[in-house]
């Protein structure tokens, strides 16, 4: 029993290690999608069905195109700056991490000037959509979701 059991324990610990390390460091996995919404064409990226469903009742965009899909590992109080698209950048900071909730401070910058400053609380599976900055004939939308 000895050797086999020890092997199983070691494998088990190695499998769970990333989870414990991530938790110990207080990192929060966050998904960032950068989307271009417009009325040019009528193609909707299959990965953006949820965004289309959420925005459909408010805006009449006919096309949703995924420009980038990133997974961010955020550490508390360490701002991450992401160049979203053509002069529009995003600065996201994990300000608080609670049991089942993460609090983010999000700043949107255009050519280095702040155009939006907001604080949001997200629990796993929830999304905040920030849109509006013009991009060609459409708008840029940032979809920020907390990973479960």
């Amino acid at each position: 029993m000895g050797k086999r059991f020890h092997f199983v324990i070691v494998v088990f610990v190695l499998l769970l290690a990333p989870l414990f390390v991530s938790t110990a460091l207080g990192q929060v996995q966050t998904r960032l999608r950068i989307i271009e919404a417009s009325n040019v064409g009528s193609s909707i990226d299959p990965a953006l069905r949820d965004v289309h469903d959420q925005l459909g009742s408010l805006f009449n965009f006919t096309s949703y195109r995924l420009l980038r899909d990133e997974s961010l590992s955020l550490t508390p109080n360490r701002p991450s700056e992401i160049n979203a698209h053509q002069g529009v950048s995003l600065e996201i900071t994990l300000t608080k991490q609670q049991k089942n909730k993460a609090e983010y401070q999000i700043r949107i910058l255009r050519q280095g000037s702040e155009i939006l400053n907001t604080k949001v609380r997200l629990s796993p599976g929830r999304t905040v959509l920030i849109g509006g900055p013009k991009h060609g004939q459409g708008s840029i939308i940032l979809a920020i979701s907390a990973r479960s």
Partner: protein, 169 residues
């Protein structure tokens, strides 16, 4: 008859003590029907036994054996009560599966399962007041629309360009 009595005499004691065989018993009973002397001897034996037995039975009936119970109880009290640690150790020592130290991995596995399973069991459900996703929104350059949907777990912040003539607030 005399000879017969002397031969039966030894059997008579056995008969009295109910130690004769079936054949011996029949022989004694046949003889007793014919011999008054042996009948008298058997009767005297029975009387003697009754005389000896009566005071013993009387003494036993009167005795409650209280002193015996007192002694037993004293013995139980004087025996030292083992501590809970010793009891646990004794139990583990006697129980077969634990004698082989199987309990160490078993306890480790149980703790691991509890550690993994407890977050799922005690998963918090957000209250109504916690449903608001956006704490604040601030923009000095744009108009902002905020839309929060409880049903879809989503919040939408939309920036609108300011038209000419709108003053920044």
């Amino acid at each position: 008859m005399k000879d017969s009595c002397s031969s039966i005499s030894k059997l008579l004691e056995k008969y009295f003590d109910r130690e004769t065989t079936a054949d011996e018993g029949i022989l004694v009973q046949d003889h007793l029907q014919q011999c008054a002397a042996c009948q008298a001897q058997l009767k005297s034996m029975e009387e003697l036994r009754a005389t000896l037995r009566a005071p013993v039975d009387e003494a036993v009936q009167k005795e409650t054996f209280a002193w015996v119970w007192q002694k037993i109880e004293r013995e139980i009290q004087t025996r030292e009560k083992p501590s809970w640690r010793e009891s646990v150790r004794a139990w583990f020592g006697l129980s077969f599966p634990f004698r082989r130290r199987v309990w160490i991995p078993a306890v480790a596995a149980a703790l691991l399962i509890i550690a993994i399973g407890s977050p799922l069991l005690f998963k918090e459900t957000p209250s109504k007041t916690e449903l608001s996703i956006v704490e604040y929104v601030q923009s000095d350059t744009n108009n902002v629309m905020l839309f929060e949907s409880e049903r879809e777990d989503v919040a939408i912040i939309w920036l609108f360009e300011r038209t000419e003539g709108e003053s920044s607030t």
